[in-house]
Amino acid sequence: MKALHQFIDNNVHPLFKEGKKLEKYWPVYDGFYTFLFTPGHTTDGKAHIRDGVDLKRTMNTVITALIPALLFGMWNVGYHHFNAIGVDATFFEQFLFGAIKVIPMVVVSYAVGLGIEFLFCVVKSHQIEEGYLVSGMLIPLIMPVDLPLWMLALSVAFAVIIGKEVFGGTGMNIFNPALLARAFAFFAYPTYMSGDKVWINTTGTEGMIAVDGFSGATALGEYATTGISQYSALDAFIGIIPGSVGETSVIAIMLGAGLLLFTGIASWRIMLSAVVGGVVMGLIFNAVAPFALSAEQQAFMAVPFWQQLVMGGFAFGVVYMATDPVSGSQTNTGKYVYGFLIGFLSIMIRVFNPAYPEGVMLAILFMNTMAPLVDHYVIQANIKKREQRLALKTVSV
């Protein structure tokens, strides 16, 4: 390792220096270099204390936290595939099939996203930021397995260019880029992003078609259209239900959440208040279910509030998307409000509008827009409070 480091420092480094031939590609080189080695940068300003946990380390932690969901998703894809075509398969076969389907999605997501980021960094001669590392892993996990890869690539391009680079790159985006990619795909290609055909791959094995009476709808989709589901709450908790690649298993997501909370990367305030918000809305629905307009809606409203939390992308969204430090609220009080409304709106959207069973996506994007407003009021309230305190003090003196 030391030899490699020295070789790069002595032979590669000078090529990218100012005035040299490859100067233009300094951002790309710098990006890779700091990925491999801790840079010897020192601070320019007056502060000299540097935290060991920089942006790259933060991103790596989140990716590590995503691994359980990714691995489970791979197995789940294979499991449902062989189930649907009525073939018995071993655990290994199921996992292998899923991996063959999911890994190209991850590769396309990273290739397109990082490619665009590198391009922008070179053109604008910025330092390469690591923001896409997490988005690139999140995007395949929140897409259905049968989404054509070029649609995935287009969604990624949209999210990176319109969602991030336009606003000035990593740390400047208003919306969570991964969710923006999903929202783009959802509105652009609705037939590939919703319904009962896309969640389970039934064509992967040559000459095989789905068995009779097979339904590929997700648990939420079934509730929204018929009011009942063939999947129990336990199925949804373990994750053996159809859905986007990585969103199904609450257990896998909870493992990731544990790591994120333990390392302090994700905000526990947002997670907690989002769950509370979901519970509150679920309880409200349970209470008003008898007054629903249709029988299907009544059945959906009557779904126990705790079951709402394990279905669909609620858990995934709350743990990995809502806690995005860039697009969420910054103040502690604001985080409670922000999280609560995400949970509250997610359940509300999915029950009231069967066309959008994935309410959590829209709820988080909506609250991304509102986060600065929430922060503004929190800060103003604090200013007012302190002004009053000051006024009281001056009076007493």
């Binding site: 649609m151 287009l154 336009v166 783009f184 509105f187 652009a188 290609y189 037939t191």
Partner: protein, 233 residues
Amino acid sequence: MADVLEKEEKAKELLIDKQPKEPLLSKKNRKLLNDPLNDNNPITVQVLGICSALAITVKLYPALVMSISVLFVMAAGNVIVSLMRNFIPNRIRIIVQLVVVASLVALVDQVLKAFVYDVSKELSVFVGLIITNCIIMGRLEAFALGNTVWKSFLDGIGNAFGYAWILLAVAFFRELLGSGTLFGFQVIPNAWYLANGGFYSNNGFMLLPPMALITVGIIIWVQRARNTKLIEE
């Protein structure tokens, strides 16, 4: 009193007449035509008339009809208001302008209903809303009220073209990517579609208003990247 006013008016007219005659398409007048196409575009630089740019750009044909309608209303409105500019009492000028524009729009509406009924139905309320199109009121207020007929005419035409080309550009991308057609003709080969065993699918997002806004945004982005003097501090 009235006498004095009349004399002043005459003196003014004499003054105007004494100015050297400039050619119809002098450099200044050409600027009136060219500026709104790029540097001072009513949509991308002044950000006016966005509402209709979002609403009627799903397909090229309605966008073209809309552009022609606005072109007519804008040119005629500018000319008429410019002709009347010395008689309009300042306090009620907005009402007078509204009456002029509203009569012209009513005329356009009737013509559209008579000759292109289906498009007229598609444009629905947006023909009527030309009356409140900020670009038209803006040009009447800012230009026609203070300039001669010919100049006002050029200004109206220029701004209408500036509006039209953005509208058509947005509609071009939205129709091509959203429906796979241009002016209603299938451009993307049918065999490409997934339903026919191909790989392609129309982008449904292009048909929704948010994508029109984003398309306008991208045009603004490209324009400012090419023309750096438009970038604000």
